[in-house]
C-alpha cells in the first residue's frame, strides 16, 4: 500500500512507465476502471503531443508542428487498429476446438479492459517511450504482439517520450528532407537550415544506434548459453521474446514479453548496456545536430523550397520512418512474429 494515485500521474504524464505494483497498470489499485484506463492513455500522449505544437511555435511556423503531429497521429491510428483487430479476432486454434472466442484473445488481459482497451494501451505505451502495461504483451496474438514490438523498432518516434521524444521524429524529418529535397533540385534544407555532411553524420548515428544495439544484443543472446537459459517458450516465440527485450531496452521503453526470465546477471548486464547506449548514444548526436543547426544562417523560403508542412510531407515522413524501420528489422521480424503468425494461421 502507498500513495499509488499520485505516483500514477507521474508515471503516465512523465511517460516513465515504472509501476507501483509489479503488475503495473493491470493492477486494480493502479488502474481500477475503464475511465482511469482512458485517462492513463491520454496522459501518456498528452505532453509528447503538445510538444509538437510547442515545436511549431518555437520555429515560428505552427504548420510545421501540425505536420509532425499529423504524421504521428496517422501512424498511431493504423497501428492501434491492427493491434485491436488481431486481439479481438482471438486465437483460431481455440476457436476450432469449440471454445467461444467472441471476447477475443483474453489470455493475460484484465476482464475490465478487454481486447480493445488492452490493444490500444499496448500501442500507446510502446509508441511513446512509456512502457507501462495494462495487459501481458507476451500473451498477445502474434500480430497483436508484433504491433508493440514494431512501434518500438520505429524508434518510439510516434509521439515519443516526454524528456526525449520529439527529437526522434525530427531526425527522420531531416532524413526525409535530405533525400526528397535533392529530388526537387536543391541542396536539402529543413526549416531554412541547410542539411550538410556534418548534419547527416549526426542523423545517421542517432537513427542507427538503436537498431544496432537491438540486433547485436539479440544475436549475442541467442549465441550464449546464459541467454538461451532464459527462454521459457522455445521456438519462434522465444526468439520474439529476446528481440522484444533488447528492442525495449535499446529504445528505453521498459515493457516486456515477460515469458523471458530476464532477471539474471546476463540479461541485466546486457539490457543495461543497451539502455545506456540507446539513450545517450542518441542524445549526444542530437545535441550536436541541434547546435550546428542553431548556428546556421536561416535561408529564406521561396516557391523553389520544399514545403515541410502539408500532406505531401506528412506522407513522405511516414514513408521514411516505416522504410527505415522495415529495412532494419524485416529479417529479424520474419523469424519472430511473422513466422508465429504464419504458423498459427497455416494450421488453421
Amino acid at each position: 500500500m502507498g500513495p499509488v494515485a499520485s505516483q500514477e500521474a507521474i508515471k503516465m504524464l512523465g511517460t516513465n512507465g515504472g509501476g507501483f505494483f509489479n503488475a503495473n497498470s493491470a493492477h486494480p489499485y493502479e488502474n481500477p476502471t475503464p475511465l482511469s484506463n482512458f485517462v492513463q492513455m491520454l496522459s501518456i500522449f498528452l505532453i509528447p503531443g503538445a510538444l509538437c505544437l510547442t515545436f511549431g511555435r518555437i520555429v515560428g511556423d505552427t504548420r510545421q508542428g501540425w505536420a509532425v503531429l499529423a504524421a504521428m497521429t496517422l501512424m498511431f491510428v493504423v497501428m492501434a487498429v491492427i493491434a485491436m483487430h488481431y486481439e479481438q479476432a482471438g486465437n483460431p486454434l481455440l476457436g476450432r476446438l469449440g471454445v467461444d472466442i467472441g471476447a477475443g484473445n483474453m489470455e493475460g488481459k484484465e476482464t475490465r479492459f478487454g481486447t480493445f482497451d488492452s490493444g490500444l494501451f499496448a500501442t500507446i505505451t510502446t509508441l511513446a517511450s512509456c512502457g507501462a502495461v495494462n495487459a501481458m504483451h507476451d500473451s498477445f496474438t502474434p500480430m497483436g504482439g508484433f504491433v508493440p514490438l514494431w512501434n518500438m523498432m520505429l524508434g518510439e518516434v510516434v509521439f515519443g517520450g516526454v524528456g526525449s521524444g520529439l527529437y526522434g521524429m525530427l531526425l527522420f524529418a531531416v532524413m526525409a528532407v535530405f533525400i526528397a529535397g535533392l529530388m526537387i533540385g536543391r541542396t536539402p534544407e529543413y526549416l531554412g537550415k541547410k542539411i550538410e555532411a556534418y548534419e547527416m553524420k549526426m542523423v545517421s548515428i542517432a537513427i542507427l544506434i538503436t537498431p544496432f544495439l537491438a540486433l547485436v544484443g539479440t544475436a549475442t543472446t541467442v549465441m550464449t548459453a546464459d541467454g538461451l537459459a532464459g527462454i521459457a517458450n522455445p521456438g519462434a516465440h522465444g526468439f520474439s521474446e529476446i528481440l522484444y527485450a533488447f528492442t525495449s531496452a535499446a529504445n528505453n521503453n521498459g515493457s516486456a514479453f515477460a515469458g523471458l526470465s530476464a532477471n539474471t546477471p546476463f540479461y541485466n548486464v546486457m539490457t543495461a548496456i543497451a539502455m545506456w547506449f540507446g539513450r545517450f548514444g542518441v542524445i549526444v548526436p542530437v545535441l550536436a545536430l541541434a547546435g550546428t543547426l542553431a548556428a546556421k544562417k536561416r535561408i529564406a523560403a521561396s516557391a523553389g523550397t520544399m514545403p515541410t508542412h502539408g500532406p505531401l510531407f506528412v506522407v513522405l515522413l511516414i514513408g521514411t520512418v516505416v522504410l527505415v524501420g522495415a529495412l532494419n528489422y524485416v529479417p529479424a521480424l520474419a523469424l519472430g512474429p511473422v513466422i508465429e503468425h504464419l504458423t498459427l494461421f497455416a494450421v488453421y
Binding site: F178, K201, A303, A346
Partner: protein, 688 residues
C-alpha cells in the same frame, strides 16, 4: 569548342570504358567508393567460397556460388563502367582543348615595350610577369593581358565563335588566352599565369576529372549511403545467429549460407546510387561543358541549383544589345515621309546598329531604298564627340541627327529655333524608356526618331519560368529609374537596379545574401570583379577581363549572359538525378527482401512460402534473380545518370510529388517486375 555530340553508347567511348572498368578493379580505386568496396569484398569472398566448394567443403552447391560470385563481379564492373563511360565522354570533350596545348614558341621581350630585344623561348618556359611579343599569324603562348598594341584575335578554339575579336591594351578587352591566334597587327602581352596553371590547363584538369573533388552534397550523401551500408552489414551479420537459433529450436532445415548472406547484403546496400554517384557528378560537369560553360569546381555547379536570385545585365541579356528605331515623330507641317527620307539620308553612312535600324525602318515604312550615294554628290559627316551629331551634306543641304541638345544648338547657330512641340516629343520618348534622336534639315527641325530598347523575344516567358522555379530576377542597368522601370515592366523581371554602379551592385548582392538567399550573376568588366567575387554563382564572360574571370567560378565561352538560366537548370538537374536515384535505390530493397527472406529460411520455416508473393521458382533462382536484377539495374540507369533527370520548371511541391511517384513508387514496383522476369528466364532455361 567544336565537339561532335557522341551517342550514349558510341563504340568509340564504350571500348575504352570497358577496358577501364577492369583497370578500376584496383582496390585502391575501389576504396574511394565505400559502398562498392563492400560489393568488391563480397565478390572476393564468394569467389573464395566457390574455390572451397570445388574442393568439396561447401555450404551451398558450387554452381550456385559461382553464379552469385560472377554476378557480384558484374555489379562491380557495371559501376566501374558507368564511371568510366562518364569520364570518357568528358575526355572526348577535353581532347579538343588539348589541341591548344601543342608546343608553341614565344618571343620573350627583355623589356615591356615592343621595341625591346626579344629571344625565342618555349611557351612552357614562360612565367608570370614575362613580356612576350605576338605578331599576326602567331599563337599567343600563354594567358595574359595586352599592355601595348591592338590586334584581332581568333578565339574560335576556345569559344567556337569564328568571328575574330579585338584585343587591346587597357579597358575591358585586354585579356588574351593562351592557344588563341593573332590574325592581324601585333600586341605585347604580359604573362599572367605560370606554366600548368593557365586557363586551358585548368579546364583540362577540370574536365579530365583528375582534380575532381567530391562536392559538399556528394559527401553528405555518401555519409548516408555508408550509414545504410553499416546497418545492412549488422542486419546480415546478426542474421546468421538468428538463423542458427531458429534451426535449433525448430529442428528443421539448415542455417543460412554465407553465400546467401553476402548476396542479401549486396542486394540491400544502396549499390545503384553508389555505383552511379560519381558518373552523375562527371556528367553534370560534362553537360555544363556542352553548354560551353567551364565550371571551376563541381561545388559551383551544385550551388547553381540552389540559386534564389539572378542578377541580369539589361543590355545583351534582357534587351538586344542595341537600340532600334521604332517610330518617326514629326514636327509641325512635316510629313512622316519627309522625316523618314531625311533620317535615312543622314544615316546612310552610319554603320552603328542604331543608324542601320533607321535605314531599315525607313525602308519598311516608305519603301525607301538605299540610294547611290555618289549620284547624290553627298559628303558624310561622321559622329564626333565634339559635335555629338552625324549626318550628310548634299550640296548646300545639311542634314543632321543627334541628341536634342546638340541639334538645338546646331539649328540656333544657323539662325533657326527649336520648336516647342519637338521638346514635348523628346520628353515623351524619354519617359517611355526610349532614346530620342532629333533630325534637322538645315535650320529646320523635322522631328524625332524614337530609338527603342528591344526586349528579346521569349525572354518574358523565360522569366515567368524562373518565377515558377522560385527564382527572382533582378535587372541591372545604368539607365535612369524611369527608363529602367519601363523596360523592367516590359520584360517582366521581378525587380531592377537603375543607375547601377559597382558599389551598389555589390551592396545589392550582400543584401540578398544577408536575407539568406543565394545570388547568381554574370559579368565581364574589371569593375564587375568585386560583385562576381561576392556572388555565390558568378559566371564570367570569356570576352571579359582576366580579373573578371579570376573572380568568377564559371566561365561562359560563348559570352552569352542568358546562359545563366541554363546553368541553374543544369545544377538542379544534377541534384535531382542524385536524389531520384537514391530514392529508387532504397525503395528497391523492399522487393529484394520479399525475394530473399523466404528463400533463405524456407528450409527452416516452410510457412514463409506465403511471403514469396512473386512466386519465384526456387530459393536458388529467387536469390540469384535478386542479385542479377541488382547488377543489371545499374546498367539500365546509366543513360539516366548521364543525361540527368529532366528538369521541369514547376513549383517544388509539384516536382516533388512527380518525382516521388516516378522514383519512389517506381522504385518499389520495378524490382518486383524485374526480379520476376529474371526468375522466369532462369527457371525457364533450367539454370537454377
Amino acid at each position: 569548342m567544336s565537339h561532335k555530340s557522341l551517342a550514349m553508347f558510341d563504340p568509340v567511348l564504350v571500348k575504352p570504358a570497358i577496358v577501364d572498368s577492369f583497370c578500376k578493379l584496383n582496390p585502391a580505386v575501389q576504396w574511394r567508393n565505400p559502398v562498392m568496396f563492400v560489393v568488391y569484398v563480397g565478390s572476393l569472398l564468394t569467389t573464395a567460397l566457390w574455390v572451397q566448394a570445388l574442393g568439396g567443403a561447401a555450404d551451398a552447391p558450387a554452381g550456385f556460388i559461382l553464379a552469385i560470385a560472377l554476378w557480384l563481379w558484374f555489379t562491380v564492373l557495371f559501376a566501374n563502367f558507368a564511371e568510366a563511360l562518364a569520364e570518357g565522354r568528358s575526355k572526348a570533350q577535353a581532347a579538343s582543348l588539348r589541341g591548344l596545348k601543342k608546343e608553341t614558341w614565344a618571343k620573350k621581350l627583355k623589356g615591356s615595350h615592343a621595341t625591346a630585344e626579344w629571344t625565342t623561348v618555349s611557351a612552357t618556359d614562360l612565367h608570370k610577369g614575362d613580356f612576350v611579343l605576338v605578331h599576326a599569324g602567331e599563337i599567343i603562348p600563354a594567358d595574359g593581358e595586352v599592355i601595348e598594341g591592338v590586334a584581332s584575335v581568333d578565339e574560335s578554339a576556345i569559344t567556337g565563335e569564328s568571328a575574330p575579336v579585338i584585343r587591346e591594351s587597357g579597358g575591358d578587352f585586354s585579356a588574351v588566352t593562351g592557344g588563341t591566334r593573332v590574325l592581324s597587327d601585333w600586341i605585347v602581352v604580359r604573362v599572367t599565369a605560370n606554366p600548368g596553371e593557365t586557363f586551358v590547363d585548368r579546364m583540362i584538369a577540370m574536365v579530365e576529372n583528375a582534380k575532381r573533388q567530391k562536392t559538399p552534397n556528394e559527401i553528405a550523401l555518401t555519409i548516408l549511403l555508408v550509414a545504410l551500408t553499416i546497418v545492412f552489414l549488422v542486419v546480415t551479420v546478426t542474421l546468421l545467429p538468428y538463423s542458427m537459433f531458429s534451426v535449433d529450436v525448430s529442428q528443421a532445415g539448415t542455417p543460412i549460407s554465407i553465400t546467401v548472406l553476402i548476396a542479401l547484403l549486396v542486394c540491400l546496400i544502396p549499390t545503384t546510387i553508389a555505383g552511379l554517384l560519381s558518373a552523375i557528378g562527371v556528367a553534370g560537369m560534362s553537360r555544363m561543358m556542352q553548354a560551353n560553360v567551364i565550371a571551376t569546381s563541381g561545388r559551383a555547379v551544385e550551388a547553381a541549383g540552389d540559386v534564389d536570385v539572378l542578377l541580369l545585365d539589361k543590355t545583351g541579356t534582357i534587351t538586344l544589345g542595341n537600340r532600334q528605331a521604332s517610330a518617326f515623330l514629326m514636327a509641325e507641317r512635316v510629313s512622316e515621309a519627309e522625316l523618314a527620307d531625311a533620317a535615312q539620308l543622314a544615316s546612310l553612312a552610319d554603320e552603328t546598329p542604331e543608324g542601320r535600324s533607321i535605314v531599315v525602318l525607313a525602308k519598311q515604312k516608305f519603301n525607301l531604298r538605299e540610294r547611290d550615294i555618289h549620284a547624290l554628290n553627298a559628303s558624310f559627316v561622321h559622329f564626333s564627340a565634339h559635335t555629338r551629331m552625324s549626318g550628310v551634306d548634299l550640296g548646300d543641304r545639311q542634314i543632321r541627327k543627334g541628341a536634342a541638345g546638340a541639334i538645338s544648338s546646331h539649328v540656333e547657330s544657323l539662325g533657326g529655333s527649336f520648336p516647342a512641340l519637338v521638346t514635348t516629343l523628346v520628353d515623351e520618348v524619354a519617359r517611355r524608356g526610349s532614346t530620342p534622336l532629333v533630325v534637322a534639315d538645315g535650320a529646320r527641325v523635322l522631328g524625332v526618331v524614337e530609338l527603342k530598347d528591344v526586349v528579346k523575344g521569349c525572354i518574358k516567358e523565360r522569366f515567368a519560368e524562373l518565377r515558377r522555379m522560385g527564382i527572382k530576377t533582378v535587372m541591372i542597368t545604368g539607365d535612369n529609374r524611369l527608363t529602367a522601370a519601363a523596360i523592367a515592366a516590359e520584360a517582366g523581371v521581378d525587380d531592377f537596379l537603375a543607375e547601377a554602379t559597382p558599389e551598389n551592385k555589390l551592396a545589392l548582392i550582400r543584401q540578398h545574401q544577408s536575407e539568406g538567399r543565394l545570388v547568381a550573376m554574370t559579368g565581364d568588366g574589371t569593375n564587375d570583379a568585386p560583385a562576381l567575387a561576392q556572388a555565390d554563382v558568378a559566371v564570367a564572360m570569356n570576352t571579359g577581363t582576366q580579373a573578371a574571370k579570376e573572380a568568377g567560378n564559371m566561365v561562359d565561352l560563348d559570352s552569352n549572359p542568358t546562359k545563366l538560366i541554363e546553368i541553374v537548370e543544369t545544377g538542379k538537374q544534377m541534384l535531382m538525378t542524385r536524389g531520384s536515384l537514391t530514392t529508387f535505390s532504397i525503395a528497391n530493397d523492399v522487393a529484394k527482401y520479399f525475394a530473399i527472406i523466404p528463400a533463405a529460411f524456407i528450409t527452416t520455416y516452410p510457412q514463409l512460402a506465403a511471403l514469396n508473393i512473386m512466386h519465384l521458382a526456387s530459393p536458388a533462382s529467387a536469390i540469384l534473380s535478386a542479385v542479377v536484377f541488382n547488377a543489371l539495374i545499374i546498367m539500365f540507369l546509366i543513360p539516366l545518370a548521364l543525361k540527368g533527370v529532366r528538369y521541369r520548371p514547376l513549383g517544388a511541391r509539384v516536382l516533388l510529388r512527380r518525382n516521388l511517384l516516378v522514383y519512389g513508387l517506381g522504385g518499389l514496383v520495378t524490382p518486383f517486375v524485374g526480379i520476376k522476369l529474371i526468375d522466369l528466364i532462369i527457371a525457364g532455361t533450367g539454370l537454377a
